[in-house]
Symmetry: C2
Subunit: 393 residues, 2 copies
């Protein structure tokens, strides 16, 4: 397969022909190399993981559902190692190319899926989103991307990372297909989805974005405001968002160590230094920090639950800036990552669905506007993104 | 070259023919892949280091000195990544085989040099010893090995790790050659070396060894006692040796980060997880811990300096046990490493020379007896190891 964007894994030729008919008939898609395909080893973005695991016995149900709906799975795509990363850099397999922002990172961890979709190598692609791994590459690569409600789609046959955050999501270039995939996977009819009545413009979230990104997103926010009819500006949190980041990092890091620590201990695998650092910080997260983070999360859910009702949508920047330049130092990327996760951790902490829409650019570089709703508002968000509504922006 | 022990690096065919005559005429040796050989990249045990560095312009003076003395350098040997490790495990290139203890680790970080020497692929080999990297593999592989006085041999053209601890050392199978290399490198005549008058049996160091190792080393200690004529048993330190370990770890870790941190930050290289962990702990060492460790080291040097005079030698176990089984978990190895470094950190903290002598076995597995002297007593120690003295044991 032609792969000018280093999107696909070379270790497998996994391919599943789509059913002869169905809503996704004739379309092609790729799956992040965290999804099991029967008969193939799921590589997880790490050569030692690949070498130490047997081929999967079953295909992940979400993949199978897409195939049954007519789409052909044409390959597996690169991921940050064991999904630990937000920029798409992989020290073993190289960083996928961002087709929409030359010389810049694609975002991750669903980096290959985003690159394959943005580069039109497939019609759409599956990713996972634990801390932002669909939303961030969607923003950087100019794609529609969704992190569904936590727990909404099955993670069977998927290498998870932090169970209380892990979700399956997807990318598409076109809003129509973006929604259609949702209808297939979520089993909903978008035509019957709730229509939101109120848009909340997240003041504290926008404040985290770089000025040029704030300016670039403004017309899109105004467009969504007109569509919904009513908007207000408010902070999503009485607490500083930096605390959300701190506690999300503790929870996710600790859960990731619970998921992978035993395997790491047994195999002493090779990791890019930054990935090892992330795992080690998770390993070092003590009970006090973990318990405090759980309490904080519960408090935020209660606080936001008091106003984020079933007819409300929150607008926020998906990322505080467009795709960063490739080739920066680890410490520079680490600082940038903190500001990115400061935004993506909102949905993660709430377990809420969020879609990123490719409605803006800064100096020609894509940057996404996000819409977030309460748990189980996935259909409402996807319907909002449909060609007849936001899609016409 | 035949390499049944995975001792040699495949990335280079570096070879330097020895001078036609000289004290080491006709002998072969290997150099750990931290030593520069002109025209070849020094790989340092890490593929990203190898890929990102140009070939060395000059050959390290210690290597050249051996070549000038008639020895032929036949290859470069595996090391723990950037010399960070004590057991010889390398996640990229595999762990060299211990020719004297099947199924067990060779020790490191001068693992390939020890394996090549113990397996008779060369007559002798160069290593480096920062925290035990010559002494430990010497003990595990049944070799003579030396950590010279800190600063005694030039580190030019050698990838250093922690400057206040780094030394160049060597391995040999035979005590005669072991001493002869010392004469070449140190420029001394062992026949004129000081003869020690007192042996101190380090009670606190022996207490750290496993009972079987204590028992196994006893006849060798008695032999050395008879040779020297007088011995006494005493603690080397008024402070618990676990504190030596703690402070050495802080100093070495912080220095190692000072040495490699900028390169790591720029390149985000791949490391085995344990190596990354060691670097990260060094990175996290704060000023208070660093300053306390420096004070502790100065106090220990003053304390031991008060009784370790130029005619005194200290006997201690090189390692608390013979070579551990290969294939253990990272956490198990981490615990074992602490007990090993608890012994090796004594010479490191003092900057003192130490030789390991292959004078004992436990269930057929080699374990070394060490002799440590004050700074610049290298010749005295090497003379003690000579065939006419300890060599006859």
């Amino acid at each position: 397969m032609r792969d000018p964007y280093n999107a696909f894994c070379a270790h497998t030729d996994a391919r599943l022909a789509g059913a002869k008919s169905g809503p996704l008939e004739g379309l092609t898609f790729a799956a992040k190399d965290l999804f099991d395909i029967a008969g193939h080893v799921t590589g997880g973005g790490n050569p030692d993981w690949l070498a130490k695991h047997p081929p999967a016995q079953r295909t992940a149900p979400v993949v199978q559902k897409l195939v049954d709906a007519g789409a052909t799975m044409v390959g597996k795509t690169h991921t940050d190692e064991l999904s630990r990363g937000i920029f798409g850099e992989n020290a073993h397999y190289g960083t996928p190319v961002n087709p929409k922002a030359p010389g810049r990172l694609p975002g991750g961890s669903s980096s290959g899926s985003a690159a394959a979709t943005a580069g039109s190598l497939v019609d759409f692609a599956l990713g996972t989103d634990t801390g932002g791994s669909v939303r961030v590459p969607a923003s950087f690569c100019g794609l529609y991307g969704i992190r569904p409600t936590h727990g909404r789609l099955p993670l069977d046959g998927v290498i998870g990372q932090a169970p209380s955050f892990d979700t399956v999501g997807w990318f598409a270039r076109e809003p129509g297909l973006f929604g259609k995939i949702g209808e297939v996977l979520l089993g909903t009819d978008l035509a019957r989805a709730t229509r939101p009545k109120r848009l909340v413009i997240a003041e504290d979230a926008f404040a985290l974005a770089e000025p040029a990104t704030q300016v670039a997103l403004k017309p899109a926010v105004e467009h969504v405001t007109r569509l919904i009819g009513k908007s207000e500006t408010r902070k999503v949190s009485s607490e500083n968002l930096s605390l959300w980041l701190k506690h999300q990092t503790a929870l996710q890091g600790r859960e990731a160590w619970a998921t992978f620590g035993e395997w790491i201990d047994r195999n002493n695998p090779r990791f890019g230094f930054e990935v090892a650092d992330n795992f080690l910080r998770g390993m070092q997260c003590d009970d006090d920090a973990y318990n405090a983070a759980q309490k904080f999360r519960a408090a935020r859910r209660a606080e936001i639950g008091a106003w984020l009702d079933a007819e409300t949508v929150v607008a926020l920047p998906t990322t505080p800036f467009p795709a960063p330049l490739a080739g920066q130092t680890r410490s520079a990327m680490r600082a940038l990552r903190a500001t990115v996760i400061n935004l993506t951790c909102i949905a993660g902490t709430l377990g809420a669905p969020q879609i990123s829409l490719p409605l803006a650019t800064v100096d020609g570089l894509p940057v996404g506007l996000s819409l977030l709703g309460p748990a189980d508002s996935d259909a409402m968000l996807l319907a909002l993104a449909a060609p007849a509504t936001i899609g016409k922006f």
